[in-house]
């Protein structure tokens, strides 16, 4: 995977919690499109409209704190988000992103430089974030996590690699 991912930025502040990303009342669904309709609903229709028109969510520190709900990542995927970049992530949100196939990149300098409505591009293999023609480095993903992302998340990864092995072992 050498191609770059990215696009238009929607930028948020520090401590954005998962109740704001996707309110608990919508957790009855696991459909990305359905969830996306309600993503960031507490912040109002204007923010939601901008979310749907964006490809990269940029956050401050502790992005995605709060509940372990995986739908926070799923809702962003449904809204057409290709990557999330932040100064730092809450650990469960970070895991949920990787496990649902959504690249989550910790890069404080790039998150700082990013402007709402501007462009953000990521080269995941090289560990380079590009914001307004400036390059920022971030720690590239370890091979194991890269495999998960490439497969499209943990469940597709298991379907593709783990189960066939188990079946073969059983003979």
């Amino acid at each position: 995977m050498t191609e770059k991912i990215g696009g238009k930025i929607i930028k948020f502040g520090n401590n954005v919690n998962t109740d704001v990303i996707i309110p608990g009342r919508y957790l009855v669904s696991i459909d990305p499109q359905e969830l996306a309709k309600h993503a960031f609903e507490p912040l109002g229709a204007e923010v939601q409209k901008r979310l749907w028109a964006s490809q990269v969510v940029v956050g401050g520190s502790n992005f995605g704190c709060g509940s372990a709900r995986e739908q926070a990542a799923t809702a962003l995927i449904g809204a057409g988000i290709k990557a999330v970049v932040a100064k730092s992530f809450s650990r469960v949100f970070f895991r949920n992103c990787i496990n649902t196939g959504l690249p989550a990149v910790e890069c404080p300098e790039a998150a700082e430089a990013a402007q709402d409505g501007g462009d953000f591009w990521l080269d995941l293999d090289a560990g380079i974030a590009t914001v307004q023609e400036k390059n920022f480095r971030f720690a590239a993903f370890p091979e194991s996590l890269k495999q998960l992302l490439d497969a499209g998340g943990l469940i597709p990864y298991i379907a593709k690699y783990v189960l066939p092995q188990q079946r073969a072992a059983k003979g």
Binding site: I30, N62, C65, S90, R91, L154, I155, V162, Q166
Partner: protein
């Protein structure tokens, strides 16, 4: 060089001789907990087209977040879980009558020192109260653990929190944690294992230990931990778990911590987390007098037996203020039984409380929601915008004693006035 609890327990569960912070290990958890959302794991299993389960006895399901069902959809979700549990022989299945998973599993003796527990609920950190390593994960990961038995985990650095006690009058574990969260902020311990030490911890009840470890999550922690001792052992033996059924793991005296912070509980006053962030904490003096419409005594943080007794001590012989709703949701069925037996139930009822069935209740927005502009003082662990109904409502967090005093006065009130 000594080892922290997290380093020891993760090495054990990964079958490694040693674990160092930053290392990524394949860990084999001893228990996989999922609440209502278990149906998502089941659907994912169907999608994978597999009935392969690594160890069915490590699966625990508790129907707690919406209990009983409110809609045909939730009823169906719960039916899926019930049927799957029966089909696959999942013995640790608890239905809508049981209460909040964290309490139910602890009371049932399923949580033991030295275990690694994953749960698709962030407050899984609570199991540190019994000397276990508990951490929250998403449902895909939980499902993956059902199939493969393992999960990748980064060995965390550890934060040492030293709490000196006894606590000042009117304060409890909730106030200690709110103070800590206010001081360190909501990401003060992100990715870290938080170990609680100090004179306050010695001989502390399991209930208060649960509040500490539960709220460690609101610091961003990966897990919380209180060293098992006589209190832990007697709690477990009261639940039919003898010491030879578990292996305690204790941090070494020379373990290496990334940081150590001390809280002096002897001079602490009741603390309040103000809307809409848990780290927006103020001493009660600064918010006393704020009008409330509703008081909620509930959640895995503070609706345990001891919490309800603490509230009842203030509510005894008093009435809640006119126009205020007091909702009490005991954390488990066992707790309901205990408060009925010892008269606490009647005290709460006579004071004007609405006592609901056990479960997450208003903490999960399951009943007890607010209209635009309303204010709730809650004993739960989160005050995020929209968590209890309207996005234009406000949630303040405090201890059970603060909640009781507030219900009586109709405004946020200092419990020391009633002691």
């Amino acid at each position: 060089m000594g080892k922290t609890f997290a380093e020891k327990v993760l090495a054990r569960a990964a079958g490694a001789t040693e674990a160092v912070p930053g290392q990524v290990l394949d860990v084999y958890p001893d228990l996989y907990m999922s609440p209502n959302a278990s149906w998502r794991c089941i659907r994912t299993m169907e999608k994978l087209g597999t009935d392969q389960i690594y160890d069915v006895d490590r699966i625990a399901m508790v129907m707690d977040h919406i209990a009983p069902a409110q809609t045909a959809k939730t009823a169906d979700d719960q039916r899926i879980c019930r049927e799957y549990a029966a089909l696959r022989g999942i013995k640790k299945f608890y239905d809508v009558d049981a209460g909040i998973a964290h309490l139910v599993l602890s009371e049932a003796g399923h949580i033991r020192p030295g275990m690694v527990v994953i749960g698709s609920d962030s407050h899984t950190t609570i199991y540190g109260a019994l000397g276990a390593f508990g951490t929250g994960v998403g449902f895909s990961e939980l499902t993956a653990a059902w199939v493969t038995g393992k999960i990748w985990m980064k060995v965390p650095q550890s934060l040492k929190v030293v709490i000196e006690g006894p606590l000042a009058r009117g304060s409890s574990a909730k106030d200690v944690m709110l103070k800590l969260i206010g001081d360190l902020t909501a990401d003060g311990a992100t990715y870290m294992s938080v170990e609680f030490h100090g004179s306050y911890i010695e001989g502390l009840s399991v209930s208060e230990r649960m509040t500490l470890c539960n709220l460690a999550m609101e610091l961003g922690a990966k897990n919380g931990f209180v060293r098992p001792d006589e209190v832990t052992r007697s709690y477990l033996s009261g639940r039919g778990v003898a010491p030879d059924h578990y292996a305690e793991l204790h941090p070494d005296a020379d373990a290496v911590y990334v940081k150590s912070v001390t809280i002096d509980g002897r001079s602490l006053s009741p603390q309040i987390a103000c809307p809409h962030q848990v780290d927006n904490v103020k001493p009660i003096e600064q918010v006393a007098g704020t009008k409330v419409n509703q008081v909620f005594i509930g959640s895995c943080a503070n609706a345990k037996y001891e919490d309800l007794v603490e509230a009842a001590q203030i509510l005894k012989g008093r009435k809640i203020a006119n126009g205020v709703r007091l909702i009490v949701s005991p954390a488990s069925k066992e707790i309901v039984g205990r408060i009925v037996k010892d008269g606490t139930f009647s005290i709460l009822l006579d004071a004007g409380a609405l006592i609901t069935n056990p479960g997450c209740s208003a903490c999960a927005g399951d009943g007890g929601v607010m209209a635009d502009g309303e204010v709730t003082l809650s004993t739960a662990n989160r005050n995020f915008q929209g968590r209890m109904g309207s996005y234009k409502a406000e949630i303040y967090l405090g201890s059970p004693a603060v909640a009781a005093a507030t219900a009586v006065k109709g405004v946020i009130a200092d419990p020391r006035e009633f002691m």
